[in-house]
């Protein structure tokens, strides 16, 4: 049965298996002026993330006395979508900025940098489905690139439902035409889900299948993130955690 599950006859619009990720590529240290940065391609998503900090918070009254603050900004280039979108941030962008922050915060040793701020800026240059998960994947690598001590990496991808099938890592078309989309972010070593949203209709069983499949996807992405960091730093697993 497990083989049937993996080798279904059902083909997705781009030829993938139900449990197959889109091609993914992460590169770190791509922005000379940022303290840390990463570039990700995940399907047709093309995203740059720059991390600045820990640095002084302005205005000072917004600083937290015993921990670092995280500010996240999810921003889409006007040419990243079809049709062109206005450069002004939408309510959707505001919400995604917030859930990105909640997805990343649990992985960062915030208490080590009281009163300071870490800015995470994600620029979506081209948008396929699942931009928020791709942003989280790149932001994690950029945070490590910035030398910010992390409890764990945060890996993220979505699962969902289309044509009554539970599928992994929805592309643009599946996002629009599918029955449900469940973006998840996961810290593999700590075993914690730090992002979970859902849009569409699922039975509770299907929902649990989606979460489980998305976590499987996160585990694969986690390895890709580690490769991206090893390539640059030759970090061992322990070093990533403890750095």
């Amino acid at each position: 049965m497990s083989s049937r599950k993996k080798k279904t006859k059902f083909k997705r619009y781009d030829g993938r298996e139900t449990n197959e990720l889109r091609p993914i590529k992460i590169e770190s240290g791509v922005l000379p002026n940022a303290d840390g940065s990463a570039y990700i391609e995940m399907g047709r998503n093309k995203i740059l993330v720059g991390v600045f900090g820990p640095r002084e918070m302005h205005p000072k009254r917004f600083a937290k006395p015993n921990m670092a603050s995280i500010r996240c900004r999810y921003h889409m280039a006007p040419f990243s979508t079809d049709p062109r979108r206005s450069p002004a941030p939408s309510r959707r962008d505001n919400e995604i900025s917030m859930v990105m922050r909640y997805a990343l915060e649990p992985a960062i040793f915030l208490e080590r940098y009281p009163k300071s701020v870490i800015d995470i800026y994600a620029e979506i240059l081209e948008a396929d489905g699942g931009t928020r998960t791709a942003c989280i994947n790149a932001a994690t690598v950029a945070l490590v690139d910035a030398g910010i001590p992390m409890r764990d990496l945060v890996a993220s991808c979505a699962a969902g439902k289309m044509d009554e099938k539970i599928i992994l890592d929805l592309g643009d078309y599946e996002d629009k035409e599918g029955q449900a989309d469940v973006p998840v972010a996961y810290m593999p070593k700590l075993g914690k889900v730090t992002l979970l949203q859902m849009d569409g209709i699922l039975s509770t069983d299907e929902l649990e299948q989606c979460i489980s499949l998305a976590i499987d996807g996160c585990m694969q992405i986690y390895e890709i993130q580690r490769e991206a960091l090893k390539k640059k730093y030759g970090l061992t697993e322990e070093e990533v955690e403890e750095k």
Binding site: V99, V193, D199, S203
Partner: protein, 264 residues
Amino acid sequence: MSSRHNIVSRLKRKKIKEVITSGKRMDGRSLEDYREIVVKTGVLEKAEGSAEVLLGNTRVLVGVKIGIGHPFEDTPDKGVLMCNAEFTPIASPNFEPGPPREQSIELARVVDRGLRSAEIVDFSKLSLIPGKQVYLIHVDLYVLNYDGNLIDASALAAIAALKVAKRPVYKVEEGEIKLTKRKQSLKVRKTPVAVTLVKIDDTLLVDPSADEEEVMDARLTVTLDEDENVCAIQKSGSEGFTPDEIKKCIKIALEKAAENRQKL
């Protein structure tokens, strides 16, 4: 609301956490108890639909206004539903007048996703001239007093207001749109209900008060329809949930959604 971080004193925080860890709550509720829920509908005359929900001291008024206007570009032959939330400054000394912030945007979007995913109305029947003029349903969530768990209260008030809403009937005559004198129900076919849980020191509890929200580690909202289908989920807060905790939350939400749906 970051300033609230300093408002509940350290001692109070400690006290809240202690009580919760022992399986009780400051106001005497058990971990899986909601506060009293009161739903009043038809509380406004100028709105096409309205409802007020009291959830303990949390108070949300929802007005539904229905007019006509342009469809969204990607659904030219469907009516449009839009949620907007306002945290009025009378609701809390920590709310300030002005344009919506992060939290009110999240509130509107989570309620909106629940209504939209559940396909509460047949939007394809709310088109007048496809691509040009369709019915617009504005659902305005108006927070009048804040004592935690705005999502559940607002979602309940929204669906209650939509259920009683009567839309003006327009007709198309030779390409011109005319308002008739008739009113018609929106024919709401689903009743999504949101259930919010928070985690405090590894304890899960439903329907958090303002104080509990302030000390919480993470929050999870699960919205379910009457067929036990999930139609929206939103995780929030600076900690994670284990997959088992999530399962437990879904189970509790399934039960509580059914209970709260009875209040409508």
